[in-house]
Subunit: 461 residues, 2 copies
């Protein structure tokens, strides 16, 4: 995991909290830096796992080990695999059956037709995004390709753009308006970017990773009009579409609004939207998909070819995607359990959001805007001056040093974010709240001990 | 699958066989072009699937659904996963537990210590190979990096080198000596290559994909001495090490021989060797690994970082790797079944090799050297003159056209290989024999009908 990488640069010299906490080496590490909910104590959905177990070892389907709808789904999915085996390769863009299930899900979600031929399955949404970005990068221009990128961005996005050889052109999300997208800022970024690159796409995360903002219909319309005017491809991360919990807030897809707006938008604005199995916690199975809208069929052919280099997306992940977009229906044997388990996750997330904000906002020098969607909080911390001074001496970011110390002293991993300065040393942190409430409570307690301890034990600086 | 791609260029104008065969559209497609044994009718190993099912849905471990050793292995593997879930991410280079199992397997295979820290798990051996090739490509030289590459190569290797921006420097395998590696040819290739690139590695496939050759101890020693003299990294594809069936032929790993040779070879020659779960037929689970030998620790750090871009190898595949390298032992409840199932696969492969050679060598204009290892045959076919003429008119390769026609008329997929000319139109085909014997028999029958029909129905050309 990349998330552990910054830890390898160990930190010495600043006294940590001394108020009776155990040394971190005696504690289990709590990782709130990544959106890995099962690692953080949330349980998988039984229906998903039962169907997958039946597909892995089909003799389980011969008796009543599993409910009848589980057995039926396993049989259907096995029929979709080559020779009924999850061990066979699939087409590079995924199993036809699963692509059709996804297309049905999108059609029903948006009330706008989606064709399975526009759906591409890959080993996680990042893989699909990389294919699109590499396609953009592959032009004859001497000028590099630019991608308008939100600040703060999802954790791995800058690295991905860098690897693809594409220029990251930052647009600031509006912190003073709950991290909304500001269309004036988009135009400003575009104008600046044109001096140094050929801007070809804009990346949007909605619900936002990591700010927890969810865009309104009006905001999405503005972004679509901007993309149309600027001739940019929309790269829309809608991975956390299931997780919207703010009062009166709803998720509306870019696709839905694009088609509400009608021509010329609905038949010209190019878009790729991304979704992932990580959103049901099954990160380790590795699968995601994208829908392409208004993309030239010749480009779609290249997408297929580029996905070929992966040979085949993990089949277990593909089957889990099918189950994610087509869960049990009322009347199915597994419906009740499934619904209860889903509800538990949603309630946990909502509670965690409230609880974490309460604790963090009570800490001196910490403020945390409540999220209305997604799985992250993005609090702002006035890093104690002792840490800022040391960070300057070591020529590292104060936020990164704060994270290292928190890991060293309390075995809690959070991710450093953008600066919120001035003053220097004021910065954001990303903190995943899709975790079990027990674990969150323990993590918050450790963060409190650490932060208060740091303030108390370094009064001289 | 890339294997279907060339089919999209449909072919018209040549009369196919007319001897009463059904139209291909009424037949199921038999794919002998890729090494996907489960797609081709071989069954998965029960032990592997039972353990995986237990890991996917742990309540299955609470009763006697599975044998005791299966339940124990599932428990052990669950303990190795974060929070005992296959849905959690793992470290980018793989689960520690599995890396240790692999290291034990290699140590025991070679009698030479292997450290788990030198083992890197990835989503298939191709992913690991790509990381190594990209590392090689990343130099400051204006000159491109070159990789000495066997002709014929494994199917996807040229595409992979091309994607990495590396120059493919071909060395011919010696057809007159059962496709052995000829060290004089290696020196000739190296000398030529130096005019246009900086050669930095040599790729070897042993047992060979697609020729079926298995290198002798002496041949491996020669290649190692060559790599040492030329300062090349050895990239060794040992994916089919389990499949050696020629009388008196055995698989010996490059690592074992490198250490037999002692210093300076054993402590200076850099090597990456690759293995994959595809070799037990579980292609769809996507996992493989490489062992790095004599690689600078700083480079190993980069390897880790580059594997990070995949975030995490599919967990189900990683667990299957563990089972592949640590199968049931004598006395274990699953030992007998596992051994019988493995024996069945080995016997099938050996029988298929004999049977396919018998049928192919009886066809006019076809000759097929028997393989002694691996999962492919590589017959040479004098493509009928009717096809050669048409191919010239269409500016396509005669071999590719022959494959297209075979697919169109008989729904059998085989892959075109290198030319065996002169005369023009004499070329090789790759044909996977790790398939069920029934399916192979049907495929051979269709190939016979096609080839004889083509000869009979185009007498005028």
């Amino acid at each position: 995991m990349t998330s552990l990488e910054h830890v390898s640069c160990r930190v010495r010299g600043i006294r940590g909290p001394t108020n009776g906490t155990k040394d971190a080496s005696q504690k289990n590490v709590i990782d709130l830096s990544s959106g890995d909910s099962q690692k953080a104590g949330l349980r998988p959905l039984s229906f998903i796992r039962q169907v997958l177990a039946g597909c892995v070892y089909p003799p389980l389907l011969e008796d009543r080990t599993f409910p009848v709808d589980v057995r039926q789904r396993s049989e259907t999915l096995l029929d979709a695999c080559e020779e009924r085996s999850v061990g066979s390769y699939t087409d590079s863009s995924g199993l036809d059956h699963v692509r059709h299930s996804i297309a049905e899900f999108i059609t029903s979600r948006d009330g706008v037709p989606c064709s399975a031929s526009n759906v591409f399955i890959s080993g996680g949404s990042q893989r699909a995004l990389m294919v699109m970005v590499k396609l953009l990068a592959g032009t004859e221009w001497d000028f590099p390709t630019g991608v308008l990128t939100p600040m703060p961005p999802p954790l791995t996005l800058p690295m991905l753009l860098d690897e693809a050889g594409v220029s990251l052109e930052p647009y600031r999300l509006n912190k003073d308006h709950k991290w909304a997208v500001n269309v004036d800022e988009l135009y400003r970024t575009l104008t600046t970017a044109r001096w140094r690159c050929k801007p070809r796409a804009i990346f949007i995360s909605n619900p936002s990773n990591p700010t927890g903002h969810v865009q309104s219909r009006k905001s999405i319309q503005e972004v679509i009009r901007f993309a149309a005017a600027a001739g940019l491809l929309l790269l829309v991360d809608e991975v956390y579409q299931e997780y919207v919990f703010g009062d009166g807030v709803e998720f509306i897809s870019y696709k839905k609004i694009l088609f509400e707006m009608g021509p010329p938008y609905s038949d010209t604005v190019e878009m790729a939207s991304f979704y992932s199995i990580s959103s049901i916690g099954e990160c380790g199975l590795r699968a995601g998909f994208m829908e392409l809208v208004n993309i030239d069929p010749r480009v779609m052919h290249f997408v297929d070819t580029m996905l070929c280099t992966d040979i085949s997306t993990p089949v277990m992940g593909q089957l889990a995607l099918d189950l994610m977009v087509k869960p049990p229906k009322p009347g199915d044997a597994s419906y009740h359990t499934y619904t209860e388990e889903k509800k538990h996750v949603e309630n946990t997330l909502k509670w965690n959001c409230w609880r974490a904000c309460e604790v963090l906002n009570n800490l001196p020098g910490v403020s945390c805007e409540s999220a209305v969607g997604g799985v992250y909080l993005y609090p702002c911390v006035n890093v104690p001056v002792a840490v800022v001074t040391q960070a300057e001496e070591r020529e590292v970011e104060a936020g990164a040093l704060y994270c290292d110390l928190l890991m060293e002293e309390q075995a809690v991993l959070i991710g450093p974010g953008c600066s919120c300065g001035p003053p220097a040393g004021t910065c954001h942190f990303r903190l995943c709240i899709l975790v079990s409430s027990d674990i969150l409570e323990e993590a918050l307690s450790r963060i409190q001990n650490f932060h208060r301890g740091l303030l108390e034990s370094n009064p001289e600086m």
